[in-house]
């Protein structure tokens, strides 16, 4: 590395930026399905719809309703409606399709208003059309929805979102505590993780592994990308003594660059993974949920606990905490600060990418999924107490839980607004957060 | 008035004939660690008082507390600005100060500064992207143009004109006049210390708190800073300063206060404190 090419930090930024762009556009685009490159099916035609119950002018989305699309009796695809009730199935060509709703997957208390209309047998789709079909749902007459049941299902969804936020916030929070910078490009790392896993598991141009097998390679690749960013962008900037304000602005620009690059590569429409997409719900007590949600929650909790232990009991964990506490002091007592940054970036990005995969499993993979999540991650950090990693985890869980539960009373469209509202209220009344110390808000 | 100290016995918490600052039961703990615990302390008007103590004995924390840059757990302190300090702004504070006493407990740092107690910092805080002259002009207290409502008027220009000559005089004294149009960021470390002093003097405080005014200053400048310090009392500014080096303290201060683990363990005339066994212990005990 002593070559003249990389010795000048300014030049190194250029070289690595160029490399990064080439890797992204080149290798990504190459491996990607031809479809994503603007051709036929992915941005082509689809059948879509929204599962919702309209009651007293209030719209309540229905999640997890299974839809099966087939052509002449051959199944083309099946999906479940996501948290906002939306579902969509890509269809290969223009023509006539049948769309059937799996009545068994309707949650308790929701019914077709016309039980005869369980299958639409002649859905015409034109070239490139996004055909919307409608199943009319209403509150059930036989099984009435108990408050306890719907709330307990929301609890599971809330824990899932909380787990995803907590997992994704670790990297951001650690980085904030050691560098004082909010990395606004962090949301894009969530998206990146989800998309890498899509590339490895689902994309026709990729290796088509099972998603479970793709998770670890995804984390590994994301970690490498994180390390590369630290090495090629942030470290040279730190060496030039760029202030926190400058770094934050760089991160905003970088976030824009990454987000729209991913949009160019992936396309605008959300896509589900091929695995874990449809699962029979398991039932216990009052909860009825697909097992993937429980896996996500369980795995995330285990990883967060593991991460906490590492931070607490290992050498590098201690070093990270020391740098967070007082960088100059840590530096003068022999800790290699650059090394600490590198490790934080790698581990943080890997965990964030995993959060992205989980989010993709829970909902679907979309170009701005991370940016949308970023605001909730911030809310979680503030709630837990900015600068405390443990606080960020707890705050993340709390905010995910809160916003999902709130959908029981409040319209889903306010979900993010509620998370941000919590953030603002917290700043007004307890700015140090749930776990923070007053001294830190200075 | 520094002469009046001659008759004061040197023991912690002793009363002074004409105190400008009275501190009572000020305590601040960080977690379990008590950083400052001053039972009673008075600073004599128009004196040069040194605050000494080993590293981590709470000197800077005490400054932060007194000036409102940190909040106390308990305790209170008052200032007696008197007639000589020109720093009192019109307003309710002035009403209070006519009675000769202003309670500072719980006030914001900027209010405390306006009430005539101005501090400097251990790590110099020069405003790099303001010119040297602007740095000093900023400290002037009567500039109505600092209010948004009057910033577009004409009145401030006259005031600035008048302040400019005062500021240049002060810069002249501190040997910075030739650099008045430079950015403060272009000054050397020692010159920044001088600029910070000049700025503080421009604010016409009745009590000046200097946090290690000599740290990092090259020896040639030390002499000149010390000379300035000695002249301040005659101009109506009482000086309380933090310093490590005992030699420096001995040569210029009228009174010395020694902190150890946040408490005053000794105070008195320099030569008395220097030979106090507790002080010697505090210093030696910490050395390696």
């Amino acid at each position: 590395m002593s070559g003249g090419l990389l010795s000048d930090p300014k030049r190194r930024v250029l070289v690595v930026a160029a490399l990064a762009i080439m890797t992204f556009t080149g290798s990504f685009g190459w491996l990607w399905d031809g479809a994503a490159l603007g051709q036929d099916d992915v941005d082509g035609q689809q059948i879509r719809g929204v599962m919702e119950v309209i009651e007293d002018e209030e719209r309540r989305p229905v999640e997890g309703v299974e839809m099966i699309v087939s052509a002449d009796g051959v199944e083309i695809g099946r999906v479940r409606s996501d948290a906002s009730g939306e579902w969509s199935v890509q269809v290969p060509e223009a023509g006539t399709y049948q769309v059937r709703l799996e009545v068994d997957t309707l949650p308790a208390g929701v019914q077709l208003t016309d039980p005869e209309r369980v299958e639409l047998s002649a859905v015409q789709v034109r070239e490139g059309q996004r055909k919307t079909v409608r199943f009319s749902l209403g509150p059930g007459f036989t099984k009435s929805l108990s408050t306890l049941e719907s709330l307990s299902n929301l609890v599971v969804l809330g824990l899932r979102l909380g787990a995803i936020i907590a997992l994704s916030s670790v990297g951001l929070s650690l980085l904030y505590s050691i560098s004082g910078m909010f990395n606004f490009a962090h949301g894009e790392l969530v998206t990146l993780g989800a998309m890498l896993a899509y590339l490895l598991s689902t994309s026709p141009g990729g290796p088509q592994w099972h998603l479970a097998a793709a998770v670890f390679p995804t984390m590994l690749m994301a970690g490498c990308i994180g390390g590369l960013m630290e090495f090629g962008l942030w470290r040279p900037l730190r060496r030039r003594k760029t202030g926190v304000v400058g770094l934050t602005l760089v991160s905003i620009g970088f976030s824009l660059f990454l987000r729209y690059l991913l949009l160019l590569i992936f396309g605008q429409s959300p896509k589900p993974y091929k695995n874990f997409n449809i699962q029979d719900p398991i039932e216990f007590l009052t909860v009825s949920t697909p097992p993937k949600n429980l896996f996500i929650i369980g795995l995330a909790v285990l990883l967060l606990l593991g991460g906490g232990m590492l931070l607490r009991y290992t050498r590098i964990g201690t070093a990270i905490r020391a740098v967070a506490d007082n960088r100059e002091l840590a530096e003068s007592s022999g800790i290699d600060v650059h090394h600490v940054f590198l490790v934080t970036w790698i581990v943080g990005t890997a965990l964030t990418a995993l959060g992205g995969v989980f989010l993709g499993i829970g909902e679907s993979v979309e170009w701005d999924m991370g940016f949308k999540l970023l605001l909730l991650i911030f809310a979680g950090m503030v709630l837990g107490g900015i600068g405390t990693t443990f606080g960020a985890m707890v705050g993340g869980f709390a905010i995910g839980f809160l916003v999902e539960i709130s959908t029981y009373w409040v319209d889903v469209q306010f979900k993010t607004a509620i998370g941000l509202g919590v953030l603002v209220l917290m700043l007004l009344f307890r700015p140090q957060g749930l776990m923070g110390l007053r001294g830190r808000i200075g | 008035m520094a002469e009046a100290l001659k008759s004061v016995p040197g023991r912690p918490g002793v009363a002074k004939p004409s105190p400008i600052l009275v501190v009572e039961g000020v305590r601040r703990a960080f977690g379990g660690l008590v950083a400052v615990d001053v039972e009673h302390l008075e600073i004599q008007r128009s004196s040069v008082t040194a605050l000494i103590g080993p590293n981590g004995s709470g000197k800077t924390t005490l400054f932060n507390l007194l000036c409102g840059f940190d909040s106390v757990d308990e305790g209170e302190w008052r200032i007696f600005p008197g007639s000589r300090g020109g720093g009192v702004q019109p307003g309710p504070e002035a009403e209070e100060s006519k009675l000769g006493e202003v309670r500072l407990t719980g006030r914001q740092s900027y209010e405390i500064a306006r009430l005539g107690m101005v501090r400097t910092f251990q790590l110099t805080k020069s405003l790099s992207l303001l010119s040297v002259l602007d740095n000093v002009l900023l400290a002037a207290k009567d500039q109505v143009g600092e209010r948004l409502s009057r910033s577009l008027g004409r009145r401030w220009r006259e005031i600035d004109e008048r302040n400019r000559s005062a500021a240049m005089e002060i810069l002249e004294r501190f040997g910075l006049a030739h650099m008045s149009d430079e950015y403060a960021g272009a000054l050397s470390g020692g010159q920044r210390k001088l600029l910070e002093l000049a700025r503080a003097v421009m604010a016409r405080p009745s009590l000046l708190l200097l946090d290690e005014p000599l740290a990092g200053v090259n020896p040639a400048l030390v002499e000149s800073i010390l000379e300035h310090l000695l002249k301040f009392p005659a101009e109506g500014m009482t000086v309380l300063f933090v310093e490590h080096s005992m030699d420096m303290v001995m040569s210029i201060s009228d009174w010395v206060v020694c902190l150890e683990e946040g408490s005053v363990i000794a105070e008195g005339p320099p030569e008395v404190v220097a030979s106090d066994p507790l002080v010697v212990d505090a210093y030696l005990g910490r050395e390696e």
Partner: protein, 332 residues
């Protein structure tokens, strides 16, 4: 590819209302960010409340001037709200809160709940007819041609452009007088070092609060004129990207510089239109092959904006006109 046509079109874009409105709006951001050092990532919210304040009042039957006043008052209120939620806390909270405020507002006006006032996603149209009734410019087509490529504006466009550029000049002059006054000196001191300013008796909180409010009001004027020109406000225009555009302009012109935002807005929108023209004609001429589809041209431009902002911060943080040693963004 017709380079001349693209260039002339871009020249037209660089003096258009959009450039003028962004120049005006960026002056507000420059006061907050360049002068006072406040990293406001929700500047778009000022433009939003300004434009919506006006549109809602007119839509409910009020006169346009009242609408403008309401918009401006709402923007001042917004600046004040930003202040009370964050200014007593550490500076970096401001970025998160302002970004969040912008998104909360956008979600709110988008929601069904606000429909009676904001018409949700459809937005409000045709609220500025009154403004065009005041137009003193006779009907016609004004402009000239460069090698048979026209730069022309209708009397309507010319009217709203003149008002907006005029306001931008006024705002710049206001900015200059403010920053040359002792008030400006104190604001700069607050930016440089809050503790030093406090130790000299300056109420740091008050100055930041004032900068936020004035900046928000100027930003709102930009939003109002943008709304008047299109006669259309809708929630999904006011995304965080608008703030980033304004930041790019402020930094390009040199944070804290007096004429920077105006000059940079002209340059920025020239580049914007030029890139747009080049990408689009490259697309129609098939240079990208199957790689991109027509909808991608805006996305490619945004990717380039992101790279540009990073490069600007890395290689020329002082902007086009600033001097290196005066850079506000550098250093620690």
């Amino acid at each position: 590819m017709d380079w001349l046509e693209i260039t002339v079109d871009s020249l037209r874009g660089s003096v258009s209302l959009v450039a003028a409105a962004y120049a005006l709006s960026s002056i507000g951001l420059n006061l907050q960010f360049g002068s006072a050092g406040l990293l406001n990532f929700g500047h778009v919210a000022s433009m939003l409340v300004g434009a919506y304040g006006m549109a809602i009042v007119v839509d409910l039957g009020g006169p346009l001037l009242l609408g403008v006043l309401v918009g401006v008052a709402a923007a001042a209120l917004l600046g004040w709200l930003w202040g009370i939620t964050t200014l007593r806390l550490r500076a970096d909270y401001l970025t998160v809160v302002t970004l969040s405020f912008g998104e909360i507002l956008r979600f709110l006006i988008r929601s069904n709940w606000a429909n009676p006032f904001t018409k949700s996603v459809y937005g409000i149209q045709r609220f500025a007819d009154e403004f065009y009734d005041w137009n003193p410019i006779p009907d016609g087509d004004y402009g000239f041609e460069i090698a048979s490529n026209p730069i022309r504006f209708s009397e309507r466009q010319l009217w709203v452009m003149s008002v907006c550029w005029g306001l931008a000049i006024l705002a710049t002059l206001l900015f200059r007088s403010l920053m040359r006054s002792p008030w400006g000196r104190t604001v700069k001191a607050v930016r440089e070092d809050e503790d030093a300013a406090r130790s000299l008796g300056k109420n740091v909180y008050l100055y930041k609060q004032q900068a936020l409010i004035i900046g928000s009001v100027i930003g709102a004027l930009g939003g109002i004129l943008l709304g008047i020109e299109t006669q259309n406000v809708y929630p999904d225009f006011y995304i965080p990207l608008v703030t980033i555009n304004a930041f790019a302009i402020v930094i390009l012109g040199g944070a804290g510089s007096v004429w920077g935002p105006m000059a940079a807005s002209i340059i920025y929108w020239f580049l914007f239109e030029w890139l747009d023209g080049v990408i689009n004609s490259a697309m129609t001429e098939g240079y990208f092959g199957l790689l991109f589809e027509p909808a991608d041209s805006g996305r490619i431009r945004t990717v380039l904006l992101g790279i540009g902002l990073v490069c600007l911060m890395v290689f020329r943080p002082q902007g086009l006109f600033g001097r290196r040693r005066e850079v506000i963004l550098g250093g620690t």
